[in-house]
């Protein structure tokens, strides 16, 4: 990695010590979720565009365990923080492993990781965070992966295999771009069934067939491109699945229209901020110097949730808030959602 990466800063180094004081007895020194540095200990090109990154504690400690389906926030160049799904089962990990798809059309974070990471570098991370966990009452799992969406699915499959539980896995990929296919094939066996699809038609047919034949008590999980997730939700509805069984994680949100201009008021200062059409509330706030934390900018990760005191109207365009939260009109995801005359509790 280039020399621009800062060495471990003192406050990061002090985190394990604080943890020792706070949690006496049963948690190891590596049990940390805050911002800290991990060392790159392995880099593997899975395909031309997918780089597999292995991270470990520089001091050799075990790492904090995580729920399958969790993601790690990674600092990917100056000012960029990207979230990547961890591919392990999360059980007492010694390494965190992520697979990074190079998106040259994106904002440069993935390309930066591809171009700059080298074994031995320190990488700033935060988490893991669990936004795509398994339902505890599930009796079987149907896991659907499209393209690089295989990463959280692989995490779930590994955790289920470790627990000796059953799963049906559908992996839709383009030949030549099949990251982790061999891992899934090796996990397949008596209790874990793998179905592969390499075209849109095959994927659609497999979704309908598999959703119609899962045993009672199954929960379904999908991660992949928007079109595949739409097909998955439609097929689940057609097969009579209640929404509570149909889980998904989006890594790319659909295109949004620019929306109408509106005014947002920062309640603590009374300052009014104009949000023009085509500019997000998040960008308007950050541009005006109001500190708001954010990650995905697509209404997917939940980082930029802002409490709302009142609003003439709220147009929620995120994939984070539940129907009840939208009804309550108490929060807004600043990166995608809009409205009219919003008073923000900031």
């Amino acid at each position: 990695m280039s020399a621009t990466i800062a060495p471990v800063v003192p406050e990061v180094a002090s985190v394990p010590q604080q943890r020792d004081e706070q949690y006496v007895g049963h948690q190891h020194r590596g049990y940390a979720f805050g911002v800290r540095h991990l060392q790159v200990v392995g880099l593997t090109s899975l395909t031309r565009e997918i780089l597999h990154v292995e991270l470990a504690d520089p001091a050799g400690s075990p790492l904090a365990p995580y729920e399958p389906g969790s993601h790690l926030v990674v600092r990917a160049g100056e000012g960029r923080r990207n979230a990547y799904s961890l591919t392990g089962d999360g059980f007492n990990p010694r390494r965190y492993e992520i697979s990074v798809l190079r998106l040259d059309s994106g904002q440069g974070g993935s390309a930066w990781l591809h171009d700059n990471l080298a074994v031995g570098d320190l990488l700033e991370v935060e988490g893991p965070r669990s936004m795509f966990p398994a339902a505890h009452e599930q009796r079987h799992a149907l896991l659907v992966a499209g393209g690089i969406g295989v990463t959280p699915v692989l995490s779930h499959v590994r955790a289920l295999a470790r627990a000796g539980a059953g799963a049906t896995v559908l992996y839709s990929y383009r030949p030549g771009h099949e990251a982790h296919l061999q891992d899934l094939r090796e996990l397949a066996g008596d209790r874990i069934r793998l179905v592969e699809a390499t075209t849109v038609e095959e994927t659609g047919a497999a979704l309908h067939a598999l959703l119609a034949e899962q045993p009672f008590g199954t929960h379904a999980y999908a991660c992949g491109p928007v079109a595949m997730l739409d097909a998955y939700e439609e097929a689940a509805l057609a097969a009579g699945w209640p929404a509570g069984r149909v889980h998904l994680e989006r890594f790319v949100a659909p295109e949004l229209d620019p929306g109408s201009p509106f005014t947002a008021t920062v309640a603590s200062t009374g300052r009014e901020i104009e949000v023009p059409s085509g500019v997000s509330l998040l960008d308007a706030l950050v541009g005006a110097g109001v500190p708001v934390s954010y990650l995905c900018r697509q209404g997917v990760c939940g980082e930029c949730r802002i409490p709302v005191r009142s609003a003439e109207a709220l147009e929620h365009r995120d994939f984070v808030l539940t129907a009840e939260e939208r009804e309550a009109a108490s929060h807004v995801m600043a990166c995608v959602s809009r409205g009219r005359d919003i008073h923000l509790d900031l």
Partner: protein, 184 residues
């Protein structure tokens, strides 16, 4: 007072919040979002049969429907046939249970243990005279003609139990404990 006793905090018992079943006044209609249906009639007299038939007629207009008629879920053969049918069902099914309160609560418990969500199950009780009681002392679940607040002997440990206003949904039974535990 010793130093140890002085440091002991007095336990505060929070007020009891009742947890009781809320049965619908009339059978709810079949959920037509389902793609297959399982109707279970278990005990409950002729009224239960009428409800099961009405549900079955409605459900057959929507999708494949299975009707299971049981005398009581306590009967080994009845229970085995219910579990066999349940194991054959696929996600997308909607389950409707009708019968006496004891059997319906026990069947709902089996469904929850099989991973059922609230909105996949509908239930109706035609006879509320009996409830399942869970003895907190010997951990036996038994059928009793009483209700919350009532007294009943435990058939296993012979204690006189007071039934509390607490239905454990997963167990499908009311919690009961020794009614005489506080008397010397």
């Amino acid at each position: 007072m010793s130093a140890v006793a002085a440091s002991v905090t007095r336990e505060v018992v929070p007020p009891q919040v009742p947890s009781l079943p809320r049965w619908p006044e009339a059978p709810e209609p079949v959920d037509s979002d389902g793609t297959s249906f399982l109707v279970v009639a278990v005990g409950g007299g002729p009224a239960a049969g009428d409800v099961a038939r009405a549900w079955t007629d409605q459900a057959e207009g929507v999708g494949p429907t299975t009707l299971v008629v049981l005398e009581t879920i306590d009967d080994k053969a009845d229970r085995a046939s219910f579990e066999t049918v349940l194991a054959r069902t696929c996600t997308g099914v909607r389950v409707m249970v009708v019968g006496g309160q004891y059997d319906v609560l026990q069947v709902l418990s089996l469904l929850r243990r099989a991973g059922a969500l609230e909105n996949e199950v509908r239930s109706f009780v035609t006879d509320r005279t009996e409830i399942p009681v869970f003895c907190a002392h010997c951990q036996t679940t038994f059928r009793a003609s009483t209700g919350p607040g009532g007294l009943t002997p435990c058939p296993s440990c012979r204690r006189t139990l007071e039934v509390h206003e607490h239905l454990a949904a997963l167990r499908g039974s009311f919690l009961a404990s020794d009614a005489e535990a506080t008397s010397l």
